[in-house]
């Protein structure tokens, strides 16, 4: 199981703060493709993925038990 978090625009778009994917492993790229297919307008090409609170590369592999987060462009400060 892979846990994913949604924030800001993505939280409003998906209507949820988090959900659980029943997958053993997938790449970051696959996760983004899944999100884009599941939630029209997701905008995966502008979004980074954090795995266990660190920015991940597209080719990194996510394993069951990892906590992921979609990070749209940040605007703190």
């Amino acid at each position: 199981m892979i846990q994913v978090h949604y924030f800001a625009r993505l939280r409003e778009l998906t209507g949820k703060g988090q959900e659980t994917l029943h997958r053993d492993s997938m790449t970051v790229s696959e996760l983004l493709d899944w999100a884009e297919a599941t939630y029209p307008g997701f905008g995966a090409d502008t979004i980074q993925v954090a795995v266990n609170e660190e920015y991940a590369l597209k080719e990194d592999v996510i394993h069951s038990g990892d906590v992921c987060a979609f990070i749209p462009p940040v605007s703190g400060g």
Partner: protein
């Protein structure tokens, strides 16, 4: 307080200034980012900030660590507030102490630049006629909005 923290209540700058001050510090710089009412003719009613809290605090600490490598001898504290913020409220405070002033200015400015790059915090602007999550991809060029 923690030196790198996300908070949900008003920010007291004195607390962060006190944290970084020590007997070898000859200079302290404090930066606050405040909610601005008018941005190029568009009136903000209030802002709403959201964060991925544990990662945001890790990234603030990472920025502090980067700063201490680049400017040895400085001490740093950074806090960012989330939730609804009214006009003039402090969204972010950066406090840096240093033996000499040049490093305190430079390191402080580095911190806010990095916060805007890597810390998972998002700002929603609420205007009289709408609202929008602000992000690097949304620069509203038609309104000429700039970040603080």
């Amino acid at each position: 307080m923690k030196p790198f923290e996300i908070v949900e209540t008003p920010i007291d700058i004195q607390k962060y200034s006190d944290y970084v001050l020590h007997p070898s510090a000859g200079a302290v710089t404090i930066f606050t980012g405040n909610v601005r009412e008018w941005t190029h003719g568009v009136k903000t009613l209030y802002l709403s900030y959201e964060a991925y809290i544990p990662m945001a605090e890790k990234k603030l600490a990472q920025i502090g660590a980067e700063m201490e490598v680049k400017w040895p001898g400085i001490r740093v504290a950074i806090a960012h507030r989330i939730g609804e913020l009214q006009i003039s409220d402090i969204a972010v405070v950066i406090a840096v102490s240093s033996p000499h002033r040049k490093a305190a200015y430079e390191a402080n400015e580095y911190a806010i630049d990095r916060i805007k790059e890597i810390v998972p915090i998002w700002k929603k602007e609420i205007w009289e006629d709408g609202e929008e999550w602000i992000g690097a991809q949304k620069k509203y060029p038609e309104k000429g909005v700039e970040q603080a």
